[in-house]
Each structure stands twice: as C-alpha cells, then as structure tokens.
Symmetry: C2
Subunit: 491 residues, 2 copies
C-alpha cells in the first residue's frame, strides 16, 4: 500500500491528501467543501475530544448547546464581528420545498420565504450573548463558564481535508466574568490548556503568543494562539483564545449588578479548537509510509499479527495471545488482534503502518519456541525480539517512549526552524529556502504586515508570550521596533 | 421554588414547560422552534449519549460524520422519502451576505446564489447512501455498521421543548448488509438495544412493535418502534429502527459482488433516538415538586447539605464529609457537597428536589453527635436517619432501589393503562376519560386508521411484537380483523 502515497519530497500537499484518504481518516463528499469523517478519523477525533472535554471540565466548564441558526440581524450587532463573519456564510432563506408544477423534480416553495434569513453559525458569540442576556443579572450569576461541541459552517473558497472545510466540527468556549482581569486570566488559562493538550497529547510543540491586529478575531480585544510547525516549514494555527472585553456584552446589552449594586457590562472570552487539529496531527509526525500517531491519541495502540501455517500453529499462538490481550486491557492499553485469515501478514504490516498504529507485535510459531515476540515501533521503524514474559508492561514503557520520542523529534525540527533575519534579502531567502518561523523586527503597523504578506505570503503568526525586548529596525520598512515577532507562511 | 410549577392536575402541559425551565434543562431561543440546551439538560444528555454510544460500540458499530447539507436533488431519489422529508426543511439558497447599498444593514448577496440549493439534513439516508456507493464494492466491505451523532432540522409548525423542536440532537445508525435477513436481524437488534436502554437506564417501560403503514418511516419497508406511556395517558414514540430493504441502495445504485461474483443491491437499516428522550424521561417520572431522575442517568446522584451554625460546627461537619465524598467516588457514585454559604438549607432542599437529585443527605451538628445523617430519597420523599458508618454503601444500595422503584411505578401505571375496547363507544370513552393504550381490533387498512385519527386524534402506536392472534371486528368499521393493535393519543 505504501507505494500508493506520494512522497513528501515529491509533493507535500499530495502526500497529505493521499495519506488522509488511504489511512481512512476522511473522504470527499458530494457537497462542495464538506468532508466525510470516516470511522478511523472519527475515532481519533473522539480521543482528542474526550481528553479536551476532561480538561475543560477540570477547569470548571460545563457543556451546553445553542441553536445552529443565527438570525441575520444578530451578526450586525457587533461592528467588527460582521466584517469578519458575514461575508462567506450559508444563508437559509426558505423553509419548504414543493413538487415543481412544471416538471418532475422539487423546487423551493416561494411562499415559504423566511421574514428574516437565518445564517448557519460560523461561530456562536452572537446567539450565545443574546441568550446570556437573560441568564445574567447579578454578580452571583458569574462567572458563567460554558463550552459547546458543535458543527460550524464558513463558506471557504479553497478547501483542504481537515485543514479548511466548509463545515467543520469544533468546540467553542464562551465565558462571562465580572472583571476584566478575571476574563484575561480565563483567556490565558484556556491558551495554556490548549498548549498542554498539543504538547502532552498530540506530541506537537507549540508557541504561545498574541496575534497582531490583522490576525485578530473579529470582535476581540486580543487574540492569543498556539502555533505549530509542519514538516514542510509552514506554520499552522492550532487553537485560539480570545479576550473579548465588553464588546459582545455591549452589543447585546448584557449587564450585571455587582456587590455594591452598581450596573456594569459583563467581560467575555471565547476559545476554540477544531477538527483542523487532526490535520495538524497528521502533518506533524507522519512519514512516507503513512500516519505516525502519538500513543496517547491512537485509536488502536497495539496491533498483534499472528504468523502461522495451519490450525495447530494458530491454536498455539491464540493460547498465548488471549491472556496477553487481557494483560493489555488490565493496564489500559487498547489492542487489536488481527487474525483475519483473508489477509496476509505483509498486507497487515503495511496497513497498520499506514494507519499509524504505534506498536505492532508479530508472533510466529518459531517465536513461541523461544518465548518471544517481534515488537516493531512505528515511529523509528525498528524491530526487537522481546520476551513474552511481562510483554504488556514492556510495551507500556515502549508506548511512553514513543510518545516522548515523536514530541522530541518534532521539537528539534521546530527549534531548528526558528531563524533570525535582519535584512529583507535574508528574510525572503529564508522563507523560500528554509521555511519555518522567521524571527524579525516589525514596526507594529498593520500596513507593513499587509505589505509583507503581499510580497512574500508570510504573515505574523504571533508575538510570543514573554517576548524579549530588543531594539531594532523593521525588516521591510526599517522603522524602529522594540521586539522581534514570528513570521511564517501558514496554513 | 416548587410553588412556581403548575401542578400536573391543573395543566399537564404547563407543568411540563415549567419543569423544563425551572430545573434548568433548556430554554427558549431567539430562533423560532429552536431551543438552548442548558448545562444541566446537556449533562443529562451526555449521560444518555455515553451509555447509548457504549451499547452501539458493543454491538460492533463505529461512529463517523457526514455533511450537514444535502443537495436538493438527493432528496428526490427515493420516491417515498421525498414525500416524508422534503416538505418542511431549512433550505440554504445563498452563500454570502453583503452590506446593503441602500441602507445600513446587511442583505443576502443576490450574486451568491447556489446553483443547487442545499437542505439542512432532516435525516441522512440520502447523503450517506450516496457515500456508501463509493465504499461498497464487494461482500468483503459488508456489513458496514456506522452511527452518527448529529444535529438535524425539521421545520415543525408546533414545537415543544425537547419533544418537538426545529433543530434537535440525535444519533442515526445507517448499516449496509449482504442479505435481507442480516439487515432484519440488525433492525431487531437495535430495537432491543433501545428497549434495554429505555427500561434499564431510563427506568421507562416500553412496548416494542411494528408500525402501521401510515406511521412508517418514509422510505422504509418496515418501521419498528419502542412506545412509552406518559403520566397524562399519552403515548410517546421513543425510538425507531427501520428495515429499509434495498430502497436506498436502488435509489443510489449501491451494489456489491457476492462470493460467487454476482452483483446485487445492498440491504439497509437505519435507527435513531434523539433529545426527545429527555422529554420522555421528564414526563415519565417527575412530580409536582420537580424532576425525578433515575439514578443511572442523574448527572448528580447524591447531594450533601451541611446544616450548621458557626465555623466550629462547619469544621466538624467538613471533617466527616470530606472522607465520605472519597468513599462515594471510590464506588463510582457522583456526589455534590453544597456548602454554599449564600443559600439556606431549605432553599437547597427545594432546589435539588426540583433538579431530581435521587438522594439528599443532610448532616447537622446534632446528627454528628449520634453518628448519623438524614438521608432523603427523591422518588418517595421519605427520610431516614442513617448511620455514618458505611454510609456510602448504604446509599449505593438505596440508589439501586430507587432505580427499581421508579421503573416499577411507571410499569404499574403503564400496565394499568392498557385497556381492551370492543365497541366504538367504549373506545372513545376510554380515550377521553382514561387515556393510555387502547387494545382494539383494526381492519388493517390505512383508510380506517386515518378515519379513526380524524375522529379521535388517536393513532396506532404499534402492533406489538409476538402479538396474539385473535379473531374480531374492527373497532370502527366492523370489518374482520385477526389481531388487536395498540391505539393511543400521542406526542
């Protein structure tokens, strides 16, 4: 099977698409820009979702669910928000179809036109803050810490499986607070939750930082993000956390009375990650033979493949494998015993390589005589002969090692691809030849960022948190600057 | 708080609405017919969803995700399906808004009209079978056992929180099989899963049966359902499982080659339950003081309320409660210690009664002296003084007893409300005065069922599985009949 994927060197973009399709993560659909998430891809999303959900609940959040539709007028209420989100969205204008009186098909019933059009949510700030208005009266109702797992729709012109699709799945946290500081603390807390998830679970190193005005969420006072680096040297924004100030509270007139009975607008945050993370995960670690998944998120952590001739050998292998499966289950390792007779071991090896199963155990009749099994790790593609005694525990340690190793590998690559540039020539050359993050001075204006983007397609990914102050000159305009920021071409 | 709910006797329908709102399960939204599921309601849904999901996976199903939108032409492909679902649905006709050149607001951009309108899925058979076409070629690809958790939209004219909303959350299973028998077995298996979930988890007795033609799913060969009885004597269809025959395979041209290399159309099932189950759960058990939740699904199973004066008493109670909480966690019981100082115990008692927390433990200073606590159960509203020694285990047994008791109570009510009618006068009188299921003869025609519905608003809920054969005469037409069926007024 591996022959069927384009190599990264040959065509990185095609490699990615091939991989998504061949590993069974997703498929194209009949609806422009929308994808089908296949069972293996969805199992991966479930693992990610469940862990994130646990982290949200541990930090005091509750889940709720708000309507899919947003009345058109709601989008207009926050001035910046409308500019960012009203442009490309799915608009529901009618609520009925009928048989075509002049033909055989069905048509939209012109009599079933909505008085006000409904927008399929591109994000839910407006409908949620319109609801919060009725939920929040006093400081006793605060903080309100709510998250929603939902589908959203943004009518994208160019789509890529997982990375940019018209419909995608995500979570959006929407919190309300009595003070600006509390909302800022929440914004940073959730940025840290995302960074912890990316690094500890996805094994993907990220840089935490604040966005420039150009890249800020429409309606936010400040947008923070985690930025990861893919193997082709392009950056990928992997999660955002927004301090919304009182913008949405003012737009929807949400006030609370404090302990002294004074009325004030409520302070807000919102934060989200999406199925885009699956695209990031795939690109961060995988190779030309298929997916490489971090053990903590792999739907199947260990696959066992029997190698035998005849029923007697199979029976002997089964005798060893059945208790081994119990051992794995007892220590919380997910395992699949693939004894499908219709496929050869070689086919299975390639298949599980493609699917990124972290550890493969092959057991043959000769192995049994020696009381060993062949244990292969997906990340380094090394194999070892390992004693069957205590095998589950040996593999457990190996899984931890794989998790660390793929993080380390990604981190070394990322660290080696943060490069300082001090002249425009250097900047352009680095972008074209090396890629990665370019640390360069910027004069702080939206115009300069826009100009750099037009000239090079690079944008400011973020101004890292706790950024070092340093006098310098803007990489393009030469105007004075007080710190370097991180530029990159990005997904 | 309980004073604020209308009693069931006074106005059952208003009681239900009051309860949903006061218990914090859901709220109305700004979008016609759409509701907001509040955190407590969503926590309940999560418990239900997680258990169902486990049961689906145990029966070999995998989750996946298909697009929200369905091209208009897809709906026309299955003749019966279009009649059932094309009528009232949300239609996306445009993909962009723009600033109104003649005003200050935003308008739909007439230049962004879709070539083919998209329907927000009312159910996903069409988009899924269009996808299955590319996934299924050979018997090796079968069975395909897939489930999806999703939101769907049906443009309902009259809506009720949870029971009938324009948008609702549900799961829809869509399976593909090589033989009719295998698909029929799957249909029955999932009907049994639903019945087990309703009875064992929701503590809600249900009748399994097959639907009459009038009530059949649009596109199915046979529709099976589980039917529950609410406290007002009305029936509620709580889950459906459809044998679709080859209808969708033919509509979307999905064929497979069998072991002998012969081509045949694939056999299909689909099955679903929705957030409607929350409405059923509320109505099946609750009383005039609030929700009564089965312990197995209650988001909080036990609440502990301290009763004290001064810090010293509070400290002494804390000393007992902290290890008690650990005991509860160790045996898997979810517990909340509500020591919020800003609320009085009486307020808390009413609040948790309203929320249906199965067991309330009150601990006061005088209780401590006697080494006891007051344990109150929500279902019977009885209280008992119970030793603190081994309290967690005592409560665990109590929770099991509550689960059994509320099932038993609902079952007794249900069984007492299945009544035979042999004359039309009896039939009408029973419907008007007693309610519940009426077991009566039916001549088997759609016309008669339609006529009975017009005259009485009662429909055939189902023909129970393994129904006894009995000669008789149709309750309305007097025509010969071979079995009784269950009529009821229904939600």
């Amino acid at each position: 099977m591996s022959k069927e994927i384009t190599s990264r060197e040959q065509d990185y973009s095609q490699w990615y698409n091939d991989l998504i399709l061949k590993a069974g993560l997703a498929d194209y659909s009949a609806v422009r820009g929308c994808m089908v998430i296949k069972p293996y891809g969805f199992a991966l999303w479930e693992k990610m979702r469940d862990q994130l959900d646990k982290m949200f609940k541990e930090t005091g959040h509750q889940n709720a669910y708000f309507p899919l539709f947003i009345p058109k007028s709601f989008l207009s209420k926050e001035a910046a928000h409308i500019e960012g989100f009203a442009k490309e969205c799915a608009v529901v204008t009618h609520y009925r179809l009928k048989n075509d009186p002049n033909g055989t098909g069905i048509i939209v019933d012109p009599e079933a036109k909505l008085d006000e059009e409904l927008i399929v949510r591109p994000t839910s700030e407006t409908i949620i803050w319109n609801t919060y208005k009725t939920w929040i009266q006093s400081y006793r109702d605060l903080p309100l810490l709510i998250n929603q797992w939902a589908n959203v729709v943004r009518w994208e012109m160019r789509t890529r499986l997982f990375l940019r699709t018209t419909e995608f799945l995500w979570q959006e946290g929407h919190t309300a607070h009595a003070t600006a500081q509390e909302a800022i603390d929440e914004t940073m807390q959730m940025l840290n939750v995302y960074a912890e998830f990316a690094e500890e679970w996805m094994a993907m190193p990220v840089i935490k930082g604040v966005k420039s005005i150009n890249e800020r969420f429409a309606g936010a006072v400040d947008t923070f993000s985690i930025e990861a680096l893919m193997q082709d040297g392009k950056a990928l924004q992997s999660g955002t956390s927004h301090f919304l100030g009182q913008n949405f509270a003012k737009a929807f007139d949400v006030k609370f009375s404090d302990k002294e009975n004074k009325l004030d607008y409520v302070w807000a945050t919102s934060w989200g990650v999406s199925t885009r993370l699956i695209g990031a995960l795939v690109m961060a670690h995988s190779d030309d033979d298929g997916l490489v998944l971090p053990p903590k998120l792999a739907p199947v952590q260990v696959v066992i493949v029997p190698i035998y001739k005849g029923d007697e050998q199979k029976r002997m292998i089964d005798e060893k494998v059945i208790p081994l499966i119990q051992d794995f289950k007892a220590i919380g390792v997910s395992v699949k015993y693939d004894d499908d007779e219709s496929r050869r071991p070689g086919w299975k090896f390639a298949e599980y390589e493609m699917k990124g199963v972290p550890v493969r155990i092959a057991i043959g009749a000769r192995d049994l005589e020696k009381n060993v099994a062949e244990v292969a790790r997906r990340d380094t593609k090394t194999k070892e002969s390992v004693s069957l005694d205590g095998l589950a525990n040996t593999v457990l340690i190996l899984l931890e090692d794989i998790q660390k190793n793929i993080y380390q590998k990604a981190k070394e690559y990322r660290d080696a691809h943060i490069t300082k540039a001090d002249t425009w020539e250097e900047f352009v050359k680095l972008l074209d030849e090396k890629g990665g993050f370019i640390s360069a001075h910027w004069d702080g204006t939206a115009e300069t960022e826009e100009q750099i983007k037009e000239l090079t397609k690079a944008t400011i990914r973020c101004i890292p948190l706790n950024n070092e102050k340093e006098e310098g000159n803007d990489i393009l305009t030469g105007k004075p600057s007080t710190e370097r920021v991180l530029f990159a071409r990005a997904y």
